[in-house]
């Protein structure tokens, strides 16, 4: 399964090996902390912290932020997922360096303009962000970690994510295909 690369970037790791290593990282996380990995929780922390800084009055009067503060008495930043996501940045950067893949670029399908890609990315991100809060976790926190502990909700969310993406793939094919 060699993937032809035009530049000098190294090929990707064998997917099963990468999956196995990822599984071990997840297992270690569960063993040490009793819970899985995640990503969207860190974004939630950033949102809450921003709202509390920019509009403290509003945050104090809104039940959602008050509840968040009660559940996280040490503030939104002092959170497992925030530290983990900073680690993700470092780890991915490190991997990119050794595989010679670090460069500033805007990746897009062959038929779309840069502007379309940016708008689609923002829109897609907004959907994902909203959905991750509604579904109590994203692909890592709910689907992947949920599968590892056999959570019914996690596995249902996973099926819903991939099912919806497959169902909609046809309609958005112009974003990605030739």
């Amino acid at each position: 399964m060699k993937i032809e690369e035009t530049n000098s970037a190294k090929t990707y790791m064998n997917p099963y090996l990468a999956g196995f290593l990822l599984g071990l990282v997840l297992l270690a996380t569960i063993y040490i902390t009793g819970r899985g990995l995640g990503a969207s929780g860190a974004i939630k922390s950033a949102v809450v912290a921003t709202v509390e800084t920019v509009a403290p009055q509003h945050a104090q009067n809104t039940a959602f932020y008050k509840n968040f503060d009660n559940e996280h008495p040490e503030g939104p930043w002092k959170n497992f997922l925030v530290f983990e996501v900073v680690g993700v940045l470092v780890g991915a950067f490190f991997s990119g360096i050794i595989a010679n893949r670090v460069s500033l670029k805007l990746e897009k399908g062959p038929r779309v303009t840069n502007l379309t890609r940016v708008i689609a990315a923002i829109l897609g991100g907004a959907f994902f962000g909203y959905g991750s809060q509604l579904g109590r976790g994203c692909t890592s926190g709910s689907a992947l970690s949920g599968m590892a502990v056999l959570s019914l909700g996690g596995i249902l969310t996973m099926l819903a994510i991939f099912g919806a993406a497959y169902a909609l793939a046809f309609f958005f094919r112009k974003l990605w295909l030739k």
Binding site: L104, L144, S145
Partner: protein
């Protein structure tokens, strides 16, 4: 016994560990190619199934590991965080995320990876995700009803279908392997190529899959920690080889009065019998619950002597054996049963005045000990009980 947080690893240290776990997470995601939208959306157009391979392999590896560690008592499966199931929001949220995936080309974790290697579209995606989360937090009262609807609690899929964890584990691994083979053919067809797979690589894959099934087989068919201990107890009982260190009720009463702080008096009868009557300073650890994580320190310490008692000889001996196999503390059993202790100390009838001196001495010793023990218990009501380790349900999620 895991999880290590919060008893062995503090919450503060866990943040540092989170950073390093994140490095591992980010590194493997990037190595797998998850920093490129082309690879990610390839899954939905059938030309690249890397995402499915990595994702499914990671999921079943971690799952098999969790089941294996639970089987050998290394990880307490009853307290690890199982994502709660709110039926409506799980499905609807998932569908919204799926739309985001196909439009934006990333999911939150992969967009962070892509940003780290300089993808500007990932930055746009993260800005969008920020706005999406903000929209949710701001509109929360509107969706709260939907968010909380159909709460099934922290339920495992195996419980929901009424099968064992391991049975579902086998099913999931079977599905994963089948999907790996099927997508291999689909991928070849979509990309119009006739790639074969080298014999060495094929054998490696076959061996890895077999190894996974062996791990599950071990969990399913070999005895776990609890079985091993129960078997040892049965064996020791059958061979009658075990020598128990015993202590008499009088001696125990004397010890309690003079140095209660060197003893753990452990009541292994069912909790309701403990409620009715128990020895002074006794803690209730019903026989069936002795393997609970919260009691583990009691059986692994060497500072205090454990003294077991029950209502009959067999139960107390089994409890003492069990404690011996769980840990390495110093264990004694009380010769008398709980009922006998009560009769001797609290319901003792005064002997006739012309009884032999010995009998009178014993009576006086017992009544005065009973009074002293009661006084001690009252005086130390709030400090005497050992600090109970509460099994904390771990909060988590994305």
């Amino acid at each position: 016994m895991g999880p290590l947080v919060p008893f062995i690893v503090s919450e503060e240290l866990s943040l540092v560990i989170a950073f390093f776990l994140g490095i591992g997470f980010g590194f493997t995601l990037e190595q797998a190619g998850f920093s490129s939208t082309k690879k990610l959306v390839g899954l939905f157009y059938g030309y690249d199934f890397t995402v499915l391979r990595v994702f499914f392999t990671a999921g079943i590896t971690a799952m098999a590991g969790v089941l294996l560690m639970g089987h050998y008592g290394i990880l307490d499966l009853s307290i690890i965080y199982v994502n709660p199931t709110f039926l409506n929001s799980a499905l609807l949220g998932g569908a919204v995320m799926g739309a985001g995936f196909i439009i934006g080309g990333f999911c939150p974790g992969t967009s962070v990876c892509a940003l780290a290697v300089g993808k500007m579209d990932a930055l746009a995606f993260l800005v969008g995700a920020f706005l999406g989360v903000l929209a949710f937090t701001e509109s929360f009262p509107l969706v709260e009803e939907l968010y909380m609807a159909n709460n099934l609690g922290q339920i495992r899929i195996s419980e929901y279908f009424g099968i064992s964890n391991i049975a579902f584990g086998f099913m999931l691994v079977g599905m994963a392997v089948a999907s790996f083979v099927a997508t291999w053919f689909i991928e070849n067809k979509v990309n119009k190529r006739e790639t074969g797979i080298s014999a060495t690589l094929r054998n490696k894959y076959a061996l890895s899959a077999a190894a996974l099934f062996i791990v599950l087989g071990v969990v399913a068919f070999l005895p776990g920690k609890e079985d091993i201990i129960n078997r040892k107890i049965a064996e020791a009982k059958r061979q009658q080889t075990c020598v128990f260190k015993e202590i008499s009720a009088d001696k125990l009463a004397d010890q309690i009065v003079s140095k209660y702080y060197t003893l753990n008096v452990i009541d292994v009868r069912p909790a309701e019998e403990f409620e009715k009557f128990h020895l002074p300073f006794a803690v209730s650890i019903p026989f069936d619950k002795m393997m609970d994580r919260q009691y583990e320190p009691l059986f692994k310490q060497r500072l205090k002597t454990n003294i077991f008692y029950a209502s009959n000889d067999t139960l107390v001996k089994m409890a003492c054996l069990k404690a011996k196999f769980i840990g390495h503390s110093e264990n004694y059993i009380l010769q008398e049963s709980a009922g006998e202790f009560r009769e001797m100390f609290y319901n003792a009838a005064a002997p006739p005045v012309d009884s032999p001196k010995l009998l009178l001495d014993v009576y006086h010793f017992r009544t005065s000990s009973a009074a002293k023990m009661n006084n001690l218990v009252n005086a130390l009501k709030n400090t005497g009980a050992p600090v109970k380790r509460v099994a904390v349900k771990i909060q988590g999620g994305c």
